[in-house]
Symmetry: C2
Subunit: 198 residues, 2 copies
């Protein structure tokens, strides 16, 4: 779904109003029947022989993805990766607003990134009481990730975007976790390099 | 495959020598029959009723992923994300060595990240002649990504790890590209937040 949303957004930007599943298939490198099946699962947007209305499909998929509302994010760990996330302008366009950065390094206290102050981690509880926080991004070392994740959940946060090189062991059923493993994508690249040689 | 490799590595670290497909299934949250099918596709490592030899499976999957050789990486764009990549110690353990960082910002000239000097982009051609570069990671703005990608390919680089928020339009068949879309994983998280509410 995110990939459809991204492609449809690019089509909109280039002024395309209607697209057939065959054309979308060619652009996305997915079979047309896969596309029809995926989109039918989400309510059947297509009309036979007429193609998809790009704007309508884009908006509907956006709603399914929860992009019609704002999500407030805090970033735990204000090192290079945390600061890189805070600098991604694109997230805001999708409704993901980074509203705070946290770290344990006193040297970072009061430093600002794109106008956002870096807070010390002991201010977390207070911050979560004052502000609505929907998502916490974890960019600290994996040794501390599980403990911090539990602390975030105790503070009412129900979604974790995890960059901490470890799959979190969160047992709470109502907490959603998305693990980002950059090394997986590097291994996939290396696999394709080897395959390409054959 | 990267995911299997990661889980098997964690099993090895915790001293597990053999594992059944059922147990691996439970840990990885994939059906046992899916696991048997995946692993059979790559040469059938299992023995009925005996489980998998973790070390053997780990090594064999490592070879399939090309991790038995070293891959030299250069990072184009030495901003926060580029520096974050250069600081990931884990990549080295997998045989991915970052050997150079490049940027166009003169203020970064000669700055070092973990002992690596940041080069100016006009030194790229010379660098690629002197050193074997297997992979280029792109972390610069998407406006310049396509032009840089072509320049990298002209310099003999055959693999691109792309963080530049745009799917590259590389037509060369022998170049492999792995696109990393952080916003896709954020949208997936948001989708799960909405789904979880129902």
């Amino acid at each position: 779904m995110p990939r459809y949303y991204r492609y449809l957004g690019e089509l909109l930007d280039s002024g395309v109003e209607r697209i057939s599943s065959n054309e979308l298939s060619r652009r996305m490198n997915v079979t047309a029947s896969q596309i029809r099946q995926d989109l039918n699962n989400f309510g059947g947007f297509g009309q036979q022989g007429y193609g998809y209305n790009v704007k309508y499909l884009y908006d509907e998929i956006g709603k399914i993805l929860g992009l019609n509302e704002q999500h407030n994010i805090i970033v735990i760990g204000a090192g290079n990766l945390g600061q890189a996330l805070a600098n991604y302008v694109k997230f805001e366009k999708l409704g993901f607003m980074i509203i705070g950065l946290f770290d344990v390094n006193p040297a970072l206290k009061g430093v600002t990134v794109r106008g956002l102050a870096i807070h010390m981690l002991d201010e977390l509880e207070d911050f979560c009481k004052r502000r609505k926080v929907d998502i916490a991004a974890l960019t600290m070392p994996k040794q501390t990730a599980d403990a911090i994740a539990h602390r975030l959940v105790e503070n009412g946060i129900r979604a974790i975007w995890n960059f901490a090189h470890v799959d979190l062991e969160l047992i709470e059923e109502d907490v959603v976790v998305e693990n980002v493993h950059l090394s997986d994508s590097l291994m996939q690249l290396s696999y394709n390099i080897v395959k390409n040689r054959r």
